[in-house]
């Protein structure tokens, strides 16, 4: 079995599991949690393209998510845009923004890049709060219309679940494809040795900006979907904490692993549901998780599983 055949089988199995899950879930509460897992998976996969593949940190990805949500919200509530059109417009806008800021920002490395993206996130967060006439300020924006497709209106937990997960599955599929292509290899090459990548003909500067743009664009799409399914948005969802949460999802799941991003997103979405204390200490818990993971499981959960499977195989052979 070739690698690409195996990829297809894994994706199909995962997709089927996602499709039948709602039939097994009892009650809207759980269904809603799984909607959030879908959105967070989409965001984590998007960030993974940048962080896990190209090795470039972003502590401002919640801003792209928020921009998608707010642009969708403003265009539909104030300018009577069709929600689908608003989504496309939001994604394009954010893509352009990311492309423009990408050139200066991605010249930076390591801590400096972290600081610059953090700064960007904070500026955008302040804009959400302060431009009250546009965004409704800290108290948020409501009345955002649902998406619809012919006779289907995506306004129930069940319809939202399928809406979100179709986009999430598509994001995962395209990312897996990208991972196993010349672009995916070039990105991982940048991660391992920028100098060698350049010498082998990879336009490192341009490719970094391109993947940053794609990552931001997917995040904006997730933001639009979020706005149109929740119908209400507020700045608190798009702050620094959420940017850190996204990084935590990617690292817990495993850098560079698409299914790992799903695991990371699932765990970090479910955890607060079980732990009530979480809300006051979330950033502390993310910090601890990050430290523990990087020390004991640098490959993330997926890396851990792979190591375990290899160990079991070795024992069988012995």
């Amino acid at each position: 079995m070739t690698k690409s055949q195996r990829d297809i089988i894994i994706f199909t199995a995962f997709g089927l599991a996602v499709m039948i899950t709602p039939l097994l879930l009892r009650g809207n509460y759980l269904l809603n949690v799984f909607v959030f897992i879908g959105i967070n998976t989409m965001l984590a996969v998007a960030l993974n393209l940048l962080l896990g593949f190209a090795g470039q940190i972003s502590l401002g990805h919640a801003a792209f998510f928020g921009l998608g949500a707010y642009i969708s919200g403003i265009l539909t509530t104030r300018y009577a845009f069709d929600p689908w059109m608003a989504m496309v417009a939001a994604a394009l806008c954010v893509g352009v923004i990311a492309f423009i800021i990408g050139f200066p920002i991605l010249k930076l490395k390591g801590h400096y890049l972290a600081m610059a993206t953090l700064g960007f996130g904070i500026i955008v967060y302040i804009i959400f709060n302060e431009t009250v006439d546009w965004t409704g300020g800290p108290s948020g924006m409501s009345g955002i219309p649902n998406l619809s497709l012919g006779p289907i209106i995506f306004d129930s937990y069940m319809t939202n679940y399928y809406l979100i997960w179709v986009f999430t599955l598509l994001t995962m599929l395209l990312s897996v494809n990208l991972a196993n292509s010349r672009i995916g290899r070039a990105l991982r090459a940048i991660h391992d040795s920028e100098v060698a990548a350049r010498v082998m003909g990879v336009n490192v500067r341009l490719l970094k900006v391109q993947i940053f743009t794609v990552s931001a664009l997917i995040s904006a799409l997730a933001g639009s979907l979020y706005a149109h399914t929740m119908t209400f948005i507020a700045p608190a969802s798009f702050g620094f904490n959420f940017s850190v949460e996204l990084v935590t999802m990617v690292i817990i799941g495993g850098l560079g692993s698409i299914y790992g991003s799903f695991l990371g997103a699932a765990i970090l979405t479910l955890l607060p549901e079980f732990l009530r204390v979480f809300h006051d200490f979330d950033i502390v818990i993310y910090g601890l998780l990050l430290i523990v993971m990087t020390i004991f499981m640098p490959g993330g959960l997926i890396g851990g599983f792979e190591a375990l499977a290899a160990a079991i195989n070795r024992r069988k052979e012995a």
Binding site: L174, S175, N177, L178, N180, S181, R182, I183, G184, R185, A186, R188, A189, H191, D192, S193, V195, A196, A197, R198, V199, M200, G201, V202, N203, V204, Q210, I211, V214
Partner: protein, 250 residues
């Protein structure tokens, strides 16, 4: 093929290269030797666009390439290996060589993500050609290994395989025999000659004199950023200044 003209490079107060000129003949193996700190690696870094020189020009096949970045030079057919082996450590041996084919392929993010038919075909070609270069350098059996876990000698071979995969006109090798045992060095000498036979021009920075004398057509000697001598291996071996630089306090 490659022509360096009056290259000078300083780092702060240190003059790494001063007024260095020489030509690399097409199809030949040109050796660049000299004690540690002579400026050999700096010369490669300038030729391949990683550093920019203070003064002087570099020409490749008649074209002035002085201000071109490494990724452009790769497309023009100039490729190099590194003294400290720069592999893509977390990728497999095969994938490393596949990156070597980057300039030989062109699918963008969109066609890769959507697996457009042209991209699928291109991917197959990349895979097939990468395997060919593994075989050429004799490391086919390591294809699935993580590059970072390779023994040093195999890493050197992989770097050469990756460089060859881009089908260069000229390849610059920075101390490819450093860290190799004598059996591996002999294998390397054979490989270098085989590469030359295929028509690729080679510039070889090396400490292993036996290897240099064995494979090189011309040798350039650097010492403390100056060009000390240039000539056939035999001339160089008998040059009193060269002998002094190597045996004396230079």
């Amino acid at each position: 093929m490659l022509s360096l003209q009056r290259i000078t490079k300083t780092f702060g107060g240190v003059t790494a290269l001063e007024d260095i000129s020489f030509n690399v003949e097409s199809g030949a193996i040109t050796g660049v030797i000299g004690p540690n700190g002579a400026g050999k690696t700096t010369l490669f870094n300038i030729a391949t666009g990683l550093y920019s020189q203070d003064t002087g020009d570099v020409y490749l096949g008649g074209q002035n390439i002085s201000r071109l970045p490494p990724e452009r030079l790769a497309r023009l057919g100039m490729i190099r290996t590194f003294q400290n082996v720069e592999l893509f450590g977390q990728m497999t041996v095969l994938e490393n060589v596949m990156v070597g084919l980057h300039t030989k392929s062109k699918s963008g993010i969109f066609s890769c993500a959507f697996k457009l038919p042209g991209q699928i075909r291109e991917e197959k070609t990349i895979h097939r050609r990468a395997l060919k270069w593994l075989e050429y350098t004799g490391i086919t059996d390591l294809a699935g290994m993580t590059a970072g876990s390779l023994p040093f000698g195999k890493g050197r071979l992989l770097e050469i395989a990756r460089a060859l995969a881009s089908e260069p006109r000229i390849i610059l090798m920075d101390e490819p025999a450093a860290g190799l045992n004598s059996r591996e060095t002999m294998g390397l000498a054979g490989l270098i000659k085989k590469i030359r036979t295929s028509g690729i021009t080679i510039v070889l920075v090396e400490h292993d004199m036996e290897l240099v004398m064995d494979v090189c057509d011309t040798v350039v000697v650097l010492n403390l950023g100056h060009k000390l001598a240039e000539g056939t291996p035999r001339d160089i071996q008998e040059n009193p200044e060269v002998i002094a630089a190597y045996l004396g306090d230079g």
